[in-house]
Amino acid sequence: MDFVAGLRCRECGRGYPAEALHVCDFCFGPLEVTYDYERIAATVTRERIAAGPRTIWRYADLLPVADPAPVDLGAGFTPLVRADRLAAELGLGELWIKDDTANPTGSFKDRVVSVALTKARQLGFKVAACASTGNLANSVAAHAARAGMESVVLIPADLERAKVTMTTVYGGRVVAVEGTYDDVNRLCAELTSERPSWAFVNVNVRTYYAEGSKTLAFEVAEQLGWQAPDHVVVPIGSGSQLTKVAKGFEELGRVGLLDEVPSVRISGAQAAGCSPVATAFADGVDAIRPVKPATIAKSLAIGNPADGWYALDVIRRTGGSCAAVTDDEVLEGIRLLARTEGIFAETAGGVTIATLAKLAAAGVVRPDERVVALVTGHGLKTVEALTASEEPTVTIAPTLDAFDQAFDQAFDDSFAEHGRAGTGPTVATADPATAPTRNPAPRSAR
């Protein structure tokens, strides 16, 4: 059984039962899941969590739906990677990357969709639906397939071919909508009121869907030995994830899973081409002014973020910051993370890393802090952002001479020590009696 107390309006505080509701009837404010924290505190322990599955469902006591067989592809419990080489480049101390590229469909959306569809199924919905430009569509189609639910996914007709394939392969109904982004948005808003029997994951079951993001905070704390970090950098699209990461840490403190009451600074990362929250933060105002997105970070391109104000509130309340980075900085952020830590992030991850770099350079993220950066999607999702600029170091004919020439001319000086007489592991000299007869010939002979 779950520990949900009900739903509550974030604006006027009015209470509602835990049904398929997402806005307050009275003031149109968004609804939030509330829990019976006393009962959770009396039930949940670190051992109980450790005995659970290595997925988000190990934290079921703190999620809005309990189901012994959730709609699950294995989302969550992704690696938390100590990033010393990246930290050194950025002048930071203890830095960790929460690598959500490792989720089943390659992005953090699997966390929220797994929760949303489990709840939707419990509420009696037979059809899972969403409108998406990529990651959400992939995840909804995959989870619906796994659950044997029908799915209807609306995508813009001009979506890149690879993104369409990553959704259609799961066999649901994929509807390509001709029109501008605004046209698609309008149609989908109308559909959500015309088809109340469909679970639109980020609309009529959004209240539950959003709770899945709390698991990022739960995992980070557990993976750090049940300690909260000092500072987390979170990308902002709708702003929902940032607010739920904060809620996650607060809940862990509240139910007694952490040794200390957590005090986590939360900073937001946006692309300059879609930065309504970073702009409001910089201007010191409360009003989030909607923008028309123009950025390669399409998974963050929400010009009118539903949770923008709430994200801004969390940032200010926790002593965090918010900054925006250009598309060039995003690409450099992707390369920097890949080059230093071997993690290939999508453009949203580039936004996070580039913003982390910017905040570190400004002294906002400090070397004495234990820092976690959320990398929320795999680079293969947005590989087109880099294909024009990424080339092999050199292209050669299939001969040793060509390779040697390339080594001398095209490899940079930092590689010189790895030449023919370079350092490396000591290799035992072969016994001449058993050595192969085809000894390497002198170079001039080849």
């Binding site: 149109f28 998406s132 430009t133 989908c188 709708s238 009003a287 973020p305 539903a306």
Partner: protein, 79 residues
Amino acid sequence: MTRMRVKLTFPEALIREPIVARMVTELGVVPNIRRADVGEHTGWIVCELGGGGADVDRAVHWLQAEGVQVDLLGDVVES
């Protein structure tokens, strides 16, 4: 009857104009206001626009032409 939940954001230049009243009298679309915040420099209204047939769409275009920013409530299309 069509209904659309929107946030109307008014720039400073329109704060003193009776835009909403004109929408009702000239276009026959009625706002059901739920939340609002009107200050000296900017203002917004969260409301449901109600009207017959294409009236609501026409009202949205009219508001935009007058300089009001019209946004649907919530994120519908996500990445």
